[in-house]
Symmetry: C2
Subunit: 308 residues, 2 copies
């Protein structure tokens, strides 16, 4: 089944202990779409500028991603400059040039209306809500957000959270959103705000899924599930790891018939696998190159890492 | 089979978001011994002062721990004062009164000579080495250390590391010891210094075991194994979590016939289970109270948390 993802398509300039790259293709929707493309059909709604060339579009279309929803606007694409020299787990933002993204008003092509799965990547919650309301018939809504929206646009964010089947955020965002420093209490407080299920990402340590009585429609509240992060010899560029996790997770969910607890757990492993690929090269390099067989091999490694 | 543990038996004065406690029984050897006592016989070599009363000794003997190796010296026991108000994952040390521990010269009772397993808790590596040389016939040596010894007593520490079958340290210590920030490369560099296997503790996220070709005597190098940390509603007092992990891990290992890869993985889960109990109450309160049935229940929770 098809996923519609709305979010940023951008250029990233990056510096990490492994080197530097200028203006490589990035953005939440890009990482998400590439990761999900290994499992299911993906359609992207976003906006780019005149610097988005056929070679960039090909990165997505080569993997079967539908780019008809990527609007071209006069000017330059969103550009982010960041460095991970202090700590590979935390980016220092050096520049954020919103450019055409500043006026982003998501337009959903008519042919995208039958998408069964909606992913609201990290953008203004007002836009997330607008897209959600234009897709009333989707079977499932998942999404992301960040500290800026949690702090400065909380009212709007709370409206989106009520629409979410699965919210994916990191530890700090869960703490900020809930006001709770304890991970389990934070998760319960966040789910009380709306999301039926919550995935909290722990960087290199993986991610934990928390469930509510509403997670699987059977009124049963299940205990948390942890997908480990794979130990890697080199983390070249952490940018997009979380979006790649989301793409792997949601792509696998959308490729299956029904969301069961077992499927949710397996999807967590696919998320972790795609996140582990993402960080092995700069930008989307590694996500462009992997194969489904390589993905399955990594699932086996994750199983070996975590199973008695 | 029997474990001989050498390390601190102390009093801790603690402040955490959950409250304050003055002079509760603590110390690495105490936490280790209580956690291991659920699985095997434990003998403690340490030193205490005149403030160590029968009620304190009973905490250990009630769990079958052999305390004949705890020497009584004139003066006061080791006392540590710490707070976790800033961050539950990192203690702020407010006072360290070594007292009788400053002159600690481990004396091993003759009847302890047949102990098959040796655990060298975090003390001066010179003392660790001295104890090790007095126990030439043990089947296995495991141990711990800390940043102080890594930085200021590196030469001595390196001698102990060459004696270790399993070293247990945390992420920061592994980085400091190896000079590597990447977890996997750090682990390989640490094992190159001597330990056949390495367990790196990640606080609330659990711990990862790394293996070398020497881990199981068959020349085969296995991939890492991660035991997750159990999400808990309240972490009351993190003091001793790492020592309790070590006690659960090593106690389970010592209770079995032979160290196989499968046993090592299961022992990691017992370590995580005992660590999770330790932090639920102040000091050793929770470790005194649990039952083997409760331990097994927690193993089941860890399995549910991590298994597809």
């Amino acid at each position: 089944m098809s996923i519609l993802v709305v979010g940023s398509v951008a250029f990233d300039s990056l510096e990490t202990p492994s080197g530097k790259r200028e203006r490589v293709l990035g953005g939440a929707a890009t990482h998400f779409a590439l990761a999900a493309s290994y499992f299911t059909k993906v359609r992207v709604v976003g906006v780019v500028g005149e610097d988005f060339l056929p070679e960039h579009e090909n990165v997505l279309t080569n993997k079967g991603v539908d780019t008809k929803g990527i609007e071209r606007a006069p000017g330059k694409s969103f550009h982010w400059r960041g460095a991970y020299l202090r700590d590979l787990n935390e980016a220092d933002t050096l520049a954020t040039d919103l450019n055409v993204f500043a006026e982003f008003a998501p337009k959903i092509p008519a042919e995208y209306a039958d998408s069964e799965y909606l992913f609201l990547a990290n953008i203004d919650p007002v836009l997330q809500l607008r897209v959600r309301s234009q897709m009333p018939k989707v079977a499932m809504v998942a999404g992301d957000t960040m500290n800026y929206w949690i702090n400065a646009h909380r009212e709007n964010l709370l409206k989106v959270l009520r629409e979410m089947d699965v919210l994916l955020i990191n530890d700090k965002e869960a703490q900020m959103l809930s006001g709770e420093s304890n991970g389990l209490r934070a998760a319960e407080a966040v789910m009380a705000l709306g999301p039926k299920s919550l995935i909290v990402k722990h960087g290199e340590y993986g991610a934990t899924a928390y469930f509510s009585e509403r997670s699987f429609g059977d009124g049963v509240k299940r205990r948390p599930f942890r997908a480990p992060g794979l130990p890697l010899h080199e983390v070249v560029d952490p940018t997009g790891a979380g979006d790649s996790f989301a793409g792997g997770f949601y792509g696998f969910v959308a490729s299956q018939q029904q969301l069961t607890p077992e499927l949710f757990r397996r999807a967590m492993f696919y998320g972790s696998a795609m996140g582990s690929f993402a960080v092995e090269r700069f930008g989307t390099e590694r996500l462009q190159q992997t194969t489904r067989a390589e993905v399955e091999e990594r699932i086996e490694h994750l199983r070996e890492l975590s199973h008695l």
